[in-house]
């Protein structure tokens, strides 16, 4: 600070900030409050500027304006420059303050929720941190509820979210690198990782990607994913999102990198493989045998959800011999009089199913439930009774739909829904031949994805090929999970010691 003083003393003004200039720049910003006052003692003119609703007025009045206007601490100051010097020197106590010399700096601080005091005579301003906007309290997660586990979820405030993480990782190695992304929104983005565990290159790449993002703003998850995702030619999700701080932390200490975005009640985790999208937070709360059982069921359901409608179209339209005789008789009887070919029935039902889902999501909860009941029960039953649809198709689409809901990741589920429809289209053309062709293309697409160097199908394809069942389709007992996943190349691969279970390695 003495250096700055020495450097500026020779000039008439410290910078080129003026209240009038800021007033002009913020014209028609009716929520921007300009308050002119005189600094107590020296009589220097100053203007306090803040945005109503974004700052705590109590803080502004009692801890900024009052000490400046009525306090004796600045009575020795003779000029505005002296006032600024004393303020920055600590005569007016405040937790976080910053000297702004350029109008852009002052504007940035103002928009970030600071109260800015402009000294026209000095051409400079001091920004006082005084956040006080309304924010939602930490509540229970809405889409990742668990019985055995934390009931906290992320909220829209970045600082609250970083605090939720910090509270769980009490080490100085936890790094939270904050960036401002978006030309218009200047959204604060925090890249979170544990130094010494996370791969340094991965963390640097993530930071670089956000730093170099030349976007208008980050206001939706899609915009964040557009910045974060490496591949644009796939429907598969490439980063895991979660609203649970405990899940976020679990991944961070595993060596992954987290991204928290101001204004979003979710946080992203990268790099991940496909298994992350088929794992649920509660997997780690159960006995490993139960967890493994549930996971295997999820994989089976995910496959069934993807393939079942196409398989049904294939076998009923091209490969009837594959159907057991009794089932064939039953299907034939149920299809008597149905006017549409099977592939059209399936496609119509899939579209109806998607429409019901969309309607259920967009409408208010009570109305949404009514739509589901009317759509699924009344219309479905009526369509069967009227012989417009066959019951077999309804059963298949319902089974595929329910199996799809078992997939914990909505992004993966959405991708599966799109592929499901495409596979039905292929099945209608060449049965299992074209369905298999479609599945090969999907597999090819998955195999070709790499997320910050981590193969999507690792450890089964493209990865190190080690510890393949540690935490993928199945989960090993905690006591035996001594190493972090090799495919994300953590700097410290050892997760825990031999006595991890507390009982000399007994599985838990």
């Amino acid at each position: 600070m003495p250096k700055r003083k020495a450097a500026t003393r020779g000039r008439a003004k410290l910078g080129d900030i003026s209240a009038a200039g800021l007033r002009e720049r913020m014209a028609y910003g009716d929520d921007v409050i300009f308050t002119d006052f005189t600094v107590g003692g020296c009589g220097a003119a100053a203007t306090a500027v803040y945005i109503d609703g974004m700052v705590s007025t109590v803080t502004v009045y009692d801890f900024i304006l009052r000490p400046l206007a009525a306090g004796r601490a600045l009575s020795h100051a003779e000029t505005a420059r002296d006032v600024i010097g004393l303020v920055m020197g600590g005569r007016v106590f405040h937790g976080r303050k910053r000297l702004c010399l350029a109008p852009e700096e002052a504007e940035e601080e103002l928009l970030a929720g600071a109260a800015v005091v402009i000294f026209d005579a000095a051409g400079a301003a001091v920004a006082f941190d005084a956040p006080g906007f309304e924010k939602r309290g930490v509540t229970e997660p809405t889409s990742e509820n668990v019985l055995k586990g934390s009931k906290e979820s992320f909220v829209e405030s970045l600082r609250v979210n970083t605090a939720l993480v910090r509270r769980r990782v009490k080490t100085g190695d936890l790094k939270i690198r904050e960036l401002s992304v978006g030309r218009r929104t200047a959204t604060r983005v925090a890249v979170v990782y544990v130094e010494g565990i996370a791969n340094g290159n991965t963390a640097a790449l993530v930071i670089k990607r956000f730093e170099s993002a030349d976007v208008d703003g980050l206001v939706s998850a899609g915009q964040v994913e557009a910045v974060l995702y490496e591949r644009r030619d796939t429907l598969f999700p490439q980063a895991l999102y979660t609203e649970r701080p405990d899940r976020f932390v679990g991944n961070i200490i595993e060596g992954r990198v987290g991204i928290i975005i101001d204004g979003m009640p979710i946080a992203y985790i990268t790099p991940v493989d496909v298994h992350a999208f088929l794992q649920a937070p509660e997997d780690y709360a159960h006995h490993f045998v139960l967890s493994s059982m549930f996971r295997i069921m999820r994989y089976v359901c995910a496959a069934a959800s993807l393939v079942l409608p196409a398989f049904y179209v294939s076998v009923t339209t091209y490969h009837q011999e594959m159907i057991p005789t009794k089932l064939a008789v039953s299907i034939i009887s149920s299809k008597q009089g149905a006017p549409f070919p099977t592939y059209m029935e399936v496609a119509l039902m899939l579209l109806a199913f998607e429409a019901l889902l969309e309607a259920g999501l967009r409408l208010p909860r009570a109305v949404g439930q009514a739509v589901s009941i009317v759509g699924a029960l009344v219309v479905g039953q009526a369509a069967i009774t009227a012989n417009i649809l066959s019951p077999g198709v309804v059963i298949i689409i319902s089974a595929a739909g329910i199996a799809g809901f078992v997939v914990p990741s909505q992004d993966m589920s959405n991708a599966s829904r799109a592929f499901r429809l495409a596979l039905v289209a292929l099945a209608s053309v060449g049965g299992l031949f074209t369905t298999t062709l479609g599945l090969i293309l999907i597999l090819y697409n998955m195999c070709s994805i790499e997320i910050f160097g981590t193969p999507y199908l690792a450890p089964f394809a493209g990865g190190e090929g080690v510890r393949m069942f540690d935490d993928t389709v199945t989960r090993r007992a905690w006591a035996f999970k001594r190493r972090r996943p090799a495919d994300i190349s953590p700097e410290d691969s050892v997760r825990q010691g031999a006595g991890a279970s507390g009982k000399g390695g007994e599985p838990q």
Binding site: T325, K335, A425, V429
Partner: protein
């Protein structure tokens, strides 16, 4: 670049396939399952100088139709032709539904057709890939397959279901077996041995409780084995011979054996498992005889008399009685096979497996050797479980 091109290529390919799928020969033809009729059983009979093929098509009643949904209806159709394929080719002419052989599980050959030449009636099905591996074959004994199928359908029974249940019944009694067409083709191809095919017939029965009014009805029941020699039906193995055939060929499951205990009352032993050891006796390159040693384990499932049979003497009497009964049956089936002039107990296979080198020297003459061969059969029976948890009520001591 390639990656970027893949999705549009897939989209274009999909659109192309959609547009041209119906006409492209490259893909299999599309046909709705509802256009098919499921034919599970086919009967073949000799008809004049040609063939009569009878199809049994099972249909479920459509939902909403009068009568409980899901209950079956049976349709019987017969087509005549000079050959089997000639008759089968007509099956799609007079129908609103398409019929194909993909679902055919059972083939019934009428007795007349079997006596004529079973192989010529099977030829069509052995060439057909859809039936070659999956189809089970039966001989309709004393009746044409058409009559058998009609009688079963008239009793409101699904023939396929009846035949499936026969398989279950066979396991409990060991009096028959299920024989796949491909296995039968193998037997017929080996001229040195007989083909032994399960036979079924129908019996009058009544189902007062089921139908509501007692009336005579006919239903298919297993009836031993048909003995096929030189591709023609030459005889049958009945009752005890049938299960003896299964024992000698190692295909028997559980079977009851009723013998008299010391007090003259019957007790039933259930043979649950048995082991067959086999020996051959040679004089140089000449096979002079064979010996089967069968060791059976049995349970006592029922005792008519009240006398305590669980004494050393009583048990031995039961064991010896069961062994003797089994031995007589086994010798009888070997004798019957010899009488019919061909190896119908798969003895040749056992000899070949036991002495493959020596077998090569006698294989060509096996048809002549077998009827004269000395076959010795020794049966030992051991009661391993009595099920006698406590003293019987009214035991005489």
């Amino acid at each position: 670049m390639i990656r970027k091109a893949i999705l549009p290529i897939i989209a274009a390919l999909s659109a192309l396939l959609f547009a041209c799928g119906a006409t492209l020969r490259f893909f299999p033809g599309m046909s709705e399952i509802s256009d098919f009729e499921v034919v599970q059983v086919i009967g073949i009979d000799k008809k004049g100088g040609g063939v009569e093929v009878t199809l049994v098509a099972d249909r479920e009643r459509p939902p909403g139709e009068e009568g409980a949904a899901g209950t079956g209806m049976t349709g019987i159709m017969s087509f005549e032709g000079l050959t089997v394929s000639d008759a089968v080719s007509k099956m799609n002419i007079y129908s609103d539904k398409r019929r194909h052989l993909g679902y055919v599980d059972y083939l019934l050959i009428g007795e007349d057709a079997a006596r004529d030449d079973i192989t010529k009636y099977l030829d069509f099905f052995t060439r057909e890939y859809e039936t070659r591996y999956s189809m089970f074959v039966f001989i309709a004994r004393g009746v044409t397959s058409k009559e058998l199928l009609r009688a079963t359908a008239a009793a409101n029974r699904r023939m396929a279901g009846v035949l499936t249940n026969i398989d279950e019944a066979v396991k409990a009694l060991s009096g028959s077996r299920m024989l796949r067409l491909i296995d039968l083709a193998g037997m017929l191809g080996d001229g040195s041995e007989a083909a032994v095919v399960p036979a079924i017939t129908y019996e009058d029965t009544s189902f007062a409780k089921v139908i509501g009014a007692e009336k005579p009805e006919k239903t298919a029941v297993p009836d031993g084995f048909a003995f096929i020699r030189d591709h023609k039906l030459a005889g049958f193995y009945d009752g005890g011979l049938a299960r003896a055939y299964n024992v000698l060929t190692g295909r028997a499951h559980a079977m009851p054996v009723s013998v008299k205990a010391e007090d003259g009352e019957y007790s039933t032993l259930e043979i649950l498992q048995y082991r067959v050891s086999f020996e051959t006796f040679w004089d140089g390159k000449t096979l002079t005889g064979v010996r089967y040693v069968i060791t059976a384990e049995a349970n006592i499932t029922e005792q008519f008399g009240r006398r305590n049979v669980f004494t050393e003497r009583g048990m031995k009497a039961l064991e010896d009685g069961a062994a003797e009964l089994m031995r007589r049956e086994l010798e009888a089936v070997a004798d019957e096979s010899a009488r019919l002039g061909r190896d119908g107990i798969e003895l040749g296979r056992r000899v070949r497996m036991k002495n493959p080198v020596k077998w090569a020297g006698i294989a060509d003459d096996w048809s002549e050797i077998f009827p004269k061969l000395n076959i010795e059969i020794d049966v030992r029976c051991v009661i391993s479980r009595s099920y006698d948890l406590r003293e019987r009520i009214g035991a005489d001591g």
